[in-house]
Symmetry: C2
Subunit: 320 residues, 2 copies
Amino acid sequence: MSDNLPKILDCTIRDGGLVNNWDFSEEFVRNLYEGLNEAGVDYMEIGYKNSPKLLKGADEAGPWRFLNDDFLKKVIPQKLNTKLSALVDIGRVDENDILPRSESMLDLIRVACYARDVDKAIRLVEIFHERGYETTLNIMALSNVMENELTEALEQIKDCPVDVVYIVDSFGSLNNSEIEYFIEKFKKLLPNKKLGIHAHNNMQLAFSNTLLAAEKGVAYLDSSVYGMGRAAGNCNTELLVANLKNPKYKLRPVLDIIERFMVEMRENWEWGYNIPYMITGTLDEHPRTAMALRGSADKDKYVDFYDQLTLPEVSPQAKK
Amino acid sequence: MSDNLPKILDCTIRDGGLVNNWDFSEEFVRNLYEGLNEAGVDYMEIGYKNSPKLLKGADEAGPWRFLNDDFLKKVIPQKLNTKLSALVDIGRVDENDILPRSESMLDLIRVACYARDVDKAIRLVEIFHERGYETTLNIMALSNVMENELTEALEQIKDCPVDVVYIVDSFGSLNNSEIEYFIEKFKKLLPNKKLGIHAHNNMQLAFSNTLLAAEKGVAYLDSSVYGMGRAAGNCNTELLVANLKNPKYKLRPVLDIIERFMVEMRENWEWGYNIPYMITGTLDEHPRTAMALRGSADKDKYVDFYDQLTLPEVSPQAKK
């Protein structure tokens, strides 16, 4: 029976690292792992497995952006029930960095891609599958993909060895009905695959969309503790463990992590619902303009920001 | 057609006053009224119409707690399209304070009550209806009412002159399925009444529950700007005007109000999702213990707070 219940994948370190440039202490990551394990959380995504050779600014980021197996073994000396996962991006991962699973701390490798890159993503999935890993394929920015392109991508994915295919609401722009629409489409075109959901909270719908997905049979639910994730953040892990109908989930260890580590973290770094992220979510746009605004002196100039995004004449084309 | 579309009732001043003891400037309230009117919001609940004679601590609260018609005429010299509403509580209102509607700034009087007090609420509704007002009856704390008591209450309400009956999620403890359950029950037992919803955001479900209600034909949607309301606050007005399918609603004037007034207000007063409110929501309890915690030096002691509410032995009975 328990195999039919949805699993929680906590991506506090991976998606939260987009907030603080992966400035997480080893102590925090170790405590988070133990806390998530005690809470019954199924997977912890402990970072990216991209290659520093393929990314600019690599030397400024914390180690969680370029996971190294020796380092991981030091931080997490003992694997518990919670499995470990890492995300890779198309074109930023060097497949030679990926050890066979038998020699690695990682259980699951997730490949993030846009629908247009699905062929490249499938190639990576095949390699990781071959090396013994569980795999997922996370299709980003679904709200901006044309229907025929998505259909084609899902038809390609159907025959690849991936275990789970994710519905990713990158812009936090999808409401319940739209999530339901994607679930039905994915179910129809991928009858042989499990589904996952990764929601963002720009319109305060991340938890609600994730609960709906769980009801509709989506098997993998992404979340992060205290909602920590890029811009408006993710579905909150504490809300999932408190509300999913599975006796193994416990809220108390997650509260303990928030109390000991994340209240202070939230004082130093900003994430979660705020007006610029709500605006980009509503307009179905990438949050990058809102993130830039929040980092500027104009961070609370909401009306100007809204005008820039909605009135074309405010931003004329550059002169020659 | 537009009569079939849901209406927004903004209760920033009334429910938000529970955050700051109604410490709103006249300038803010006037600007809010003009902004809501420009945004197309249908009603603005401008406070309570309780009697200071019937409440302790009355002299410390701002004027919005005990609305006086002469004062209202000064603050809002010109009525625009947005109607004005006030809330009264059972046992705290002196019916002699209520002018006939023709002499009053108010259009709508809402009666808040628990299911057990519905007979008293109906008596008040009859008086206000008689004096020419639109009326609503807001049944609070629905998650704590026994089924037979609620059925009986709704059967009594069916034959009274009230225009709208509200589903109130006082503790922010209801999820989408539970809201849907109440909507179906209310529809069945009150086929002749319009319905309303007032949601709290303890589990980040206020907007989602309100959207769902709108889809299911609920006609009156409560919200507050920037979510300002007691404890975890309400469904955000900015999310409703940005997402409801009604061309008259405009987001920009609401952004303007937030930018000019509410960012600073939020720096001085706390409301919205946080962990203690999430805990009381999850446990289906009144937020008063969480509000007390947030006002104490232990405001971030989440684990102790959770233990107190869930482990009976932590709080032994008082000795004689």
